[in-house]
Amino acid sequence: MRRELLDVVRVDEVGPYRLLRLKRGRLESGAPGQFFMLSPPGRLLPRPMSLSLATRTELGFLIDPVGPGTKALTTLVRGERLHVLGPLGNGFRLDVARPLLVGGGIGLAPFPYLSERLGRPPAVLGFRSQEHAEAAALVPNAEVVVEPRLVTEALRPGHDVLACGPEPMLRAVAELDPGAQLAWEAPMACGYGACYGCAVEIGGELKRLCVEGPVLERAA
């Protein structure tokens, strides 16, 4: 766990989403599915974001600007700086034979980095509109599904599923494939086990997603 003040390189438009690109500093990129806490200027609490892209010099975060924190993050400009803490939590297990990435909406955020680490495996990405589906361009070998079609209709048997997306999608995926690795999301204030804000029910017990997850091997 390391916290650094990173420089903004630029913010790219990806359909309705934004890709925040930062100079990497001395931060490790961690395992795909791990996350970082990004401190938006003018807000009290940092926001958890999984890493989308890692190069030798940059870290990239795909963000859906829906609230005051994510809007502040996606309107940063070159030369501005922000505090970044990470990498945090547990990422995807990469020792899988036939990986299939399954994503819903902004849940594709960790997939560009995950896809690269897994050798560009096939992916199924679901979106609520054609405009949102523009983000599929960030993930190689992706089949795009737009509502009312759902990703679960496009799942193929015989794969090791690694999924990230809204809770109903994760639950539906887990129903079809109990062995799937699922990346969950919850509001969290700290990202390192201090606030107990991100508790989710796992196996009948409330556990902190930032410490136990966000990637879990069983349905939460």
């Binding site: 606030c195 107990y196 409330l206």
Partner: protein
């Protein structure tokens, strides 16, 4: 002396942060295990944050058998925050902790009976005092008509010190649906919004009791800590700021030294009660 506010740090998952504090204060321990409240449990507001964690904790049995030994292994000074729903529950936990090598017990006195908060405080502190010889701090709510009177009640019942303040009740609504953002509806407000409230409570409690006080509420910088010391705190705790910045204890400590020195104080504690002027009050002691 810099502590963490109870519930704002887990020393077992972030020992490197705990080691930058002078004292680690545990999450509140209750007689029985508590899962805590259903999500959503936290929300940011304009000038603070709301939480509704619901005193999630393993209960005193598992705490003493499992959590506490691991905390003590870290080599940090430990204060245990104790909670309950009746005075005898506080006493029961204090008795269990009496022979443990902890530095102090902090009573999380929540005062649900706001019609007579002083009586509630007195009953809880007196029951705890009878159950342990450990140093006892009473953590009081600022949501009472007279914080000074609650502080006096705690002092008379045998508290060695006071922790001021706990969170105050707040509500945040979703901008679009206008429904409460937190699962349980309301929550405890912390962060910068609490700062002037904490200062006023410390100021009043110092004047009323002269007891040692841990100031808590919205401290983000060394200057904020120095203000609490000037108001009558002999130590202060970091809460919400730890969520945003786990390195805050190191930064705040450096700032505190600088801010004290810039105002001509040889040490930060030389500013103790500077806001009051005149001679210090005579500390209140328990009525035999």
């Amino acid at each position: 002396m810099i502590l963490n506010a109870s519930g704002c740090l887990d020393a077992l998952t972030a020992p490197e942060v705990a080691h930058t504090l002078d004292v680690f204060v545990t999450k509140t321990v209750t007689p029985l295990p508590r899962e805590g409240n259903q999500p959503v449990r936290i929300a940011e507001t304009d000038f603070g944050m709301l939480n509704s964690i619901g005193l999630a904790n393993p209960g005193i049995d598992r705490f003493v058998a499992d959590t506490l030994p691991r905390l003590l292994d870290l080599g940090v000074s430990v204060w245990v925050s104790v909670g309950g729903f009746a005075a005898h529950e506080y006493a029961e936990i204090c008795a269990r902790l009496d022979h443990e090598p902890i530095a102090a017990i902090e009573l999380n006195v929540s005062c649900p009976n706001v019609s007579s908060p002083e009586e509630e405080v007195e009953q809880i502190v007196a029951a705890a005092r009878a159950a342990t010889t450990k140093t006892l701090y009473a953590k009081l709510s600022p949501s009472v008509p007279d914080v000074g009177a609650a502080a006096v009640a705690a002092a008379r019942a045998g508290a060695d010190g006071l922790t001021l303040v706990n969170t105050i009740r707040g509500l945040a609504l979703d901008e679009l649906t206008l429904e409460p953002k937190l699962g349980p509806g309301v929550g405890g407000l912390s962060g910068p919004a609490l700062r002037p409230i904490a200062l006023a409570a410390v100021f009043a409690a110092y004047r009323a009791t002269g007891l040692p006080i841990v100031g808590v509420g919205g401290v983000e910088t060394g200057a904020h800590g120095l203000e609490l010391i000037a108001a009558g705190a002999s130590a202060f705790a970091l809460g919400t700021v730890l969520f945003a910045d786990p390195e805050a204890p190191v930064r705040v400590r450096e700032e505190l030294e600088r801010e004290a020195s810039a105002r001509g104080f040889a040490t930060p504690l030389a500013a103790y009660a500077a806001a009051h002027g005149g001679p210090p009050p005579t500390p209140l002691r328990r009525v035999a």
